[in-house]
């Protein structure tokens, strides 16, 4: 399933980057970076899970790979949230308020974080909640159904990170698998409104 996330993320990243090459918009570059990082994270998590199955030792002996994968995804979520925060400042939306709330909430998620994995998951969760909230605010302005689907996709990714973080309390339970399923459902939901774009066959033109 993580491989599916890798494929979807890579397609979106490729399309966004080709958009940056032809139009030159920095927003497209940020989206490209974001989805490339998310996609790379899915790949590392997949390698982590598959090597654990092959060796028969379980996934725990390659925890650093999982941490790098989750870290890469957190960087991707940061770029998504960052794109929204730049525009929110432009449009005087509620970005500073959300940033402040996130900073206040952050310690509550970090408290049980004696492992880097759970600290990264809590940061990812906050960034995704911020991104999803801002996307919903954009939906209220534009009333585009696709924007609402992407917001719900970001919400699913946040839920996946939250459940994955909860795995810390009940290790070895079903929470890990539910988390991965929620994350794949989230990135698939993000891809749904983008199917109408010619992702995968892009002609690169000139930039300004």
């Amino acid at each position: 399933m993580n491989l599916l996330g890798f494929g979807i993320g890579l397609l979106i990243a490729k399309f966004a980057y080709s958009g940056y090459r032809s139009v030159g918009s920095p927003t497209l570059l940020r989206l490209g970076f974001a989805f490339a990082a998310i996609s790379f994270g899915f790949l590392l998590i997949w390698i982590h899970s598959i090597t654990g199955i092959v060796s028969g030792d379980g996934p725990s002996n390659l925890a650093s790979l999982l941490v790098i994968g989750l870290g890469s995804q957190a960087v991707g979520y940061f770029f998504l949230a960052f794109s929204h925060s730049i525009q929110s400042l432009t449009f005087k939306h509620m970005a500073p308020a959300f940033a402040l709330v996130s900073l206040v909430i952050a310690p509550f998620f970090v408290i049980p974080g004696n492992s880097i994995e759970h600290i990264i998951r809590s940061i990812s969760f906050i960034l995704l909640v911020y991104g999803a909230t801002q996307t919903i605010v954009s939906y209220m302005w534009s009333r585009r159904k696709g924007t609402l689907v992407i917001a719900s996709g970001l919400g699913m990714l946040a839920l996946g990170e939250f459940i994955g973080w909860y795995n810390f309390i009940y290790p070895g339970s079903m929470f890990y698998y539910i988390s991965v399923t929620a994350k794949i459902a989230g990135i698939s939901a993000i891809f749904v409104p983008l199917y109408r774009f010619p992702i995968g066959r892009v002609k690169v033109g000139s930039s300004v």
């Binding site: 927003t27 794109s83 525009q87 432009t90 992407i150 409104p193 000139s206 300004v208």
Partner: protein, 96 residues
């Protein structure tokens, strides 16, 4: 009512759209029409137009003491690409 600012790329797209839509019999549009329709100041539009001409998206046609501007084939391609990627970015609730 909230003020909605256009990004630099939206202004460029607006200028190219005007140059395409008001291309009077293939003779191009004058700068006054561009200023009025694109709602951009003279100081700013001259810089943008110089950049668009350099990039080959607009053709400059000298006329008496002034110039007219005509969208090029490359400009049309850019406009098509911009429309497509603008929609893509807007799906994320962002602006290109």
């Amino acid at each position: 009512m909230a003020v909605v600012y256009r990004s630099h790329f939206q202004i460029i797209a607006d200028i190219l759209n005007i140059a395409r839509d008001y291309n009077d019999g293939g003779s191009g549009v004058n700068i006054t029409l561009l200023i009025r329709k694109a709602n951009v100041s003279y100081g700013r539009i001259t810089k943008i137009l110089a950049r668009l001409v350099d990039a080959g998206l607009l053709q400059e046609i000298p006329e008496d003491k002034t110039c007219r501007y005509k969208i090029s084939e490359r400009g049309m391609e850019f406009l098509q690409a911009y429309t497509k990627f603008h929609e893509f970015v807007e799906s994320f609730g962002l602006k290109a």
